[in-house]
Amino acid sequence: MTEVSMTVNGRPVRADVPDNTLLADFLRENLELTGTHVGCDTAQCGACVVHVNGRAVKSCNIFALECEGAEVATIEGEAAPDGTLSAIQQAFQDHHGLQCGFCTPGMVMSAKALLAENPEPTEAEIRAYLKGNICRCTGYHNIVRAIMAASGQDVSNIAAE
């Protein structure tokens, strides 16, 4: 067991964990932040995407101990404390960007990283950026629309599914 400390959604946390504890498991089991989903456990699907020091990473592919001293942001930090959704979350709701919701936390965290880098992405840029996020339900159209809408762009010309 080794002690690890980091900041998760602005809150300092500290715990003793076995060395091989993955960040995804640390968030879900130790901190009970179960919004971070684990779909594949092999860095393929993107359901587990969180931010470490402002960069999107797959939390199934990184040890908690690798995040010593880091700032971690998860889907639980997106809505305001009173429950008001973030602009990206609200756009996913408005544009029906989710069905079962399993991929959604990772999609939202990836979208957030994209918009931080590129505040007005084109449809092609959004699709390319989301190549590491797999959705088995929506066919992606509405996810792309939601992200364009969240960035303040007009989506009336993009077909909905």
Partner: protein, 293 residues
């Protein structure tokens, strides 16, 4: 499993010599190659990413030093001349943005997959691999560093500390092309890189490499020589010579991603595409000698 995260190189060298741990950089190959999903095996892991000296890309009069912990995202975002475009293009093709945020250039070379996308661009850039250990420091040309599928020239107490691109390879323009079973997030069926320097439309220097079609990615030295002195617009006329060298020096395999005949066919097409793009980059430079670091 026990996990070490030294803050400086000296501690890393001591751990390497005393405990023979497995090195961990971005972990994107280490995790994938482990027994049991997500959980790296190996009794000891040595994480090198907290060592500051291993981070970042440093230009100098000798060229560019890419620290061993530099990620593909950092390469993609770096201010580098057109001669290094092939490396930047490969950076954007490695997995997805979340992988590029973690995966390192050095990890890609050390993993020594025949399909490692970083190898062909670094071969046309005449890259050198700098290694360190308690006992010795070495500079190994990349073409001698990767010795076979999953094997490198590294000794057990050594690690890579940087990848160097010499200033002499900073001339001209370069391009990278890969093909997989779909557009994104794929292991390459074949890939190629080319770098070219031109003067008044004539090729004065050419470097070409092909990956995933032989145990280790290869330079096409005979075709490179033949291109010297040729007009950049006439490259396609020499295709039979290209096909001949590909047939002689590649040994593509049949596997679940593609059969050998398909690999051999696309390798030629990818090389020609890279050459065409490198040529247009090189000839559009005001002074095709390019910029220094």
């Amino acid at each position: 499993m026990s996990y070490h995260r030294p803050q400086d190189l000296a501690s890393a060298y001591h751990l390497l010599a005393e405990r023979a741990p497995r090195l961990l950089a971005g972990g994107t190959d280490v995790y994938a190659s482990s027994e049991g999903p997500g959980r790296p095996d190996g009794a000891e892991l040595l994480d090198i990413t907290a060592i500051r000296a291993l981070h970042g890309i440093c230009p100098s009069p000798q060229g560019w030093r890419i620290g061993a912990a530099t990620t593909w995202a950092e390469v993609a975002g770096a201010d580098l001349p057109p001669a290094l475009d092939a490396l930047k293009q490969a950076a954007r093709e490695i997995g997805s943005p979340q992988i590029q945020n973690r995966a390192t250039v050095a990890g890609n070379l050390c993993n020594a997959s025949p399909a490692a996308d970083g190898v062909p661009p670094l071969l046309v850039l005449d890259a050198m691999v700098e290694t360190g250990s308690l006992r010795r420091a070495r500079m190994i040309p990349l073409r001698k560093f990767v010795t076979g599928p999953r094997t490198t020239a590294l000794r057990t107490d050594e690690m890579v500390i940087a990848v160097h691109v010499p200033a002499s390879a900073g001339k001209g323009a370069s391009a990278f092309e890969k093909i997989g079973a779909r557009r994104h997030m794929v292991i390459s069926i074949a890939m190629a890189a080319a770098r070219m320097v031109t003067r008044q439309g004539q090729i004065t220097e050419a470097a070409i490499s092909v990956g995933a079609c032989s145990p280790v990615a290869r330079r096409l030295t005979a075709f490179e020589k033949m291109l010297k002195g040729t007009a950049a617009t006439r490259i396609a006329d020499l295709r039979p010579h290209l096909e001949q060298e590909l047939a002689e020096c590649l040994s593509p395999i049949d596997d679940l991603r593609a059969d050998a005949a398909y690999r051999a066919h696309v390798a030629g097409a990818l090389v020609l595409r890279c050459l065409a793009r490198a040529a247009s980059g090189a000839t559009s430079q005001p002074e095709s000698e390019g910029e220094g670091p």
